[in-house]
């Protein structure tokens, strides 16, 4: 892979990273906090690629190429080490052409069932104000299971998630929680009690409801928080599909 080609690849990968970090598509792949670092990294790669290409263009314009531009591997071949650089086309094309979607019901169901993580502090602060109070599935699940729903009783709660099927009937409202990127996602499931008919898997819903006693999961290994649905609304996939 020649110098010019390498610079072009740098340009493309920098552009790809910049594109997803500016448009917000990065939220489908990595955590929110990574955004400024993605912007910086993408810009650096872009600048490095452009710098290299500009140096080349300036070099070709002159009849006698100055030693600084000439004295690199122009004409030298790098077997092995730089041939692997072609693989960088894979993420470039993934981002520009395929634009992989957020992980959904398939990934949530494939993940091994896992209990709601135990919270950091023993006491729970009061639920956020509002009627209904909006909160994350991880927060709701934590309060329901580890606090026995003490802070949830008598409150209307609003949860947002997607549908995953339940073999025993009904459905779960699910959200994938990531700590760094989509590779470490694990699901939080809330059993939705009520007369609502089961929507298709992967449908995004906003559900208002009240606290109900937790149920056991299908393998009877741990508790799953329950929400008694009062109002169910179809919504579009949120811009940030994962809880962090």
């Amino acid at each position: 892979m020649k110098r010019e080609t390498q610079n072009l690849v740098l340009l493309l990968i920098g552009g790809a990273v910049l594109k997803i970090s500016i448009t917000g598509a990065f939220s489908l792949y990595v955590k929110q906090g990574l955004r400024p670092y993605l912007i910086v990294a993408g810009s650096l790669l872009l600048v490095l690629g452009v710098y290299g290409l500009v140096i080349d263009v300036l070099g070709y314009r002159k009849d006698a190429e100055p030693p600084a531009a000439e004295a690199d591997e122009h004409g030298h071949h790098h077997p092995g080490g730089s041939s692997v650089g072609w693989l960088l086309l894979a993420p470039i094309m993934a981002i520009f052409l395929v634009a992989p979607p957020a992980l959904g019901a398939y990934a949530a169901e494939r993940a091994a069932p896992v209990a709601t993580p135990k919270p950091v502090s023993a006491s729970f602060p009061a639920l956020a104000a509002g009627n209904p109070a909006s909160t994350t599935l991880a927060d709701y699940s934590s309060r329901a299971i580890w606090d026995k729903g003490a802070t949830l009783k008598g409150r209307d709660v609003r949860l947002v998630g997607f549908v995953t099927p339940r073999t025993a009937g009904g459905f779960y409202l699910t959200r994938l929680v990531i700590s760094c990127c989509a590779a470490d996602a694990f699901p939080i499931k809330i059993y939705v009690a009520g007369d609502a008919k089961t929507p298709a898997a992967n449908t995004w819903l906003q559900i208002d409801g009240t606290f109900a006693a937790p149920v056991r999961d299908e393998a009877d290994q741990y508790d799953i928080a329950t929400l008694k649905a009062v109002k169910v609304r179809l919504i579009a996939q949120p811009e940030v599909p994962y809880e962090q």
Binding site: T5, Y29, G85, A94, C181
Partner: protein, 340 residues
């Protein structure tokens, strides 16, 4: 301004015939191929995109992209630092900074890993830059193994992930540092220079410092980035194919759980800043086996093996990885037995 360092003056190995062929056709080959590939991909897009709509392959593509995207800022950081070291730091600095005897240099290099926040993707190019700069391989190895595991970001992440078990943070720090120092010493005692292929760096003689920096950075990123893609693809394939439900059956056995988590740490190639949270979620497993996961992961995984192969050569990477894998399990189990 002229680079007179004998290490950097080492010319790139170039086959006679390839060089002659390229001199005849200087601007054809890779650039044209790239353009053709891109044009074909864009034209074939309507047929390409539907191939990725099935849930399994879509998940694969998402995880693959996620691992690549998440690693890139750290790779850029590592490559930038490595290129800066190559272009601006004279080798005499390292001769003065590190103690002469390996007995003292290795632990110092291991502790120096504390200063480099970030993922393992950054430490490998830097270690390569250090070796090219004349730092002894044993110290570079100690640094390479400790930096991803004991830097402040990773330690804080571990503390947050195990709120009721702060001893996991101490355990991780001690086990990883011990591992780094032991492997460094092992190399100093038994390592043969023939095992290391000197990092193949472009000929930088006669360049200005900014140009040397840019050439170094470009070459390193392209090379390491390609191997990162291999690691990301492997990790995505294993994540989509391996059912994690299998872990339930394994978690009950103490020997099996340690071995399985060690192998899992290698194949999942999760960034060292995130593996603490993954380990925390594997609540079926004992703390010791999860410590094994945290110690093996930053030291040996498919991504790192690939990066080490790119920087130091395949033979070196294989020897280093196998030895480190076994020793990592040992260190983690030992520290776990003492602390947990």
């Amino acid at each position: 301004m002229t680079q007179t360092d004998p290490v950097l003056a080492q010319p790139v190995v170039a086959a006679e015939e390839v060089e002659q062929r390229l001199r005849r056709n200087p601007k054809v080959d890779s650039l044209v191929v790239l353009v053709i590939v891109l044009v074909v991909a864009m034209v074939a897009r309507p047929w390409l995109v539907p191939m990725f709509t099935g849930p399994a392959i879509a998940s694969w593509a998402t995880i693959f992209t996620a691992v690549c995207v998440q690693a890139i800022p750290f790779l850029v950081l590592g490559v930038t630092l490595s290129a800066a070291i190559t272009a601006w730091v004279p080798s005499s600095f390292f001769e003065r900074a590190l103690p002469k005897r390996p007995a003292a240099a290795v632990p110092v290099a291991g502790l120096a890993g504390v200063i480099l926040p970030g993922c393992e993707c950054g430490s490998v190019p830097i270690a390569g830059g250090l070796v090219a700069r004349g730092v002894p391989v044993s110290s570079a190895i100690a640094f390479l193994l400790s930096a991803p595991a004991i830097n402040p970001i990773v330690l804080v992440a571990t503390a947050v992930a195990f709120p009721r078990n702060p001893e996991m943070v101490l355990g991780r720090f001690c086990a990883s540092l011990l591992l780094a120092v032991l492997v460094g010493y092992a190399w100093a005692l038994w390592g043969k220079p023939a095992w290391v292929r000197m990092p193949r760096r472009p000929d930088l003689t006669g360049m200005s410092r900014p140009a040397a920096f840019a050439t170094s950075a470009r070459h390193d990123f392209i090379s390491a980035g390609g191997f990162l893609v291999v690691g990301a693809a492997t990790a995505a394939t294993l994540q989509v194919v391996v059912p994690r439900a299998i872990l339930d059956h394994v978690a009950s056995s103490s020997v099996l759980s340690v071995l399985v988590l060690a192998v899992l740490a290698v194949v999942l190639a999760i960034c060292s800043e995130a593996d603490a949270f993954v380990a925390a979620s594997l609540s079926q497993f004992s703390l010791t086996s999860r410590l094994v996961f945290l110690v093996v992961g930053p030291a040996v995984d498919v991504k790192l093996i690939a990066l080490q192969a790119a920087t130091f050569g395949r033979r070196f990477a294989v020897r280093l990885s196998s030895f480190t894998f076994v020793l990592a399990i040992g260190c983690a189990v030992l520290v776990g037995w003492v602390l947990l």
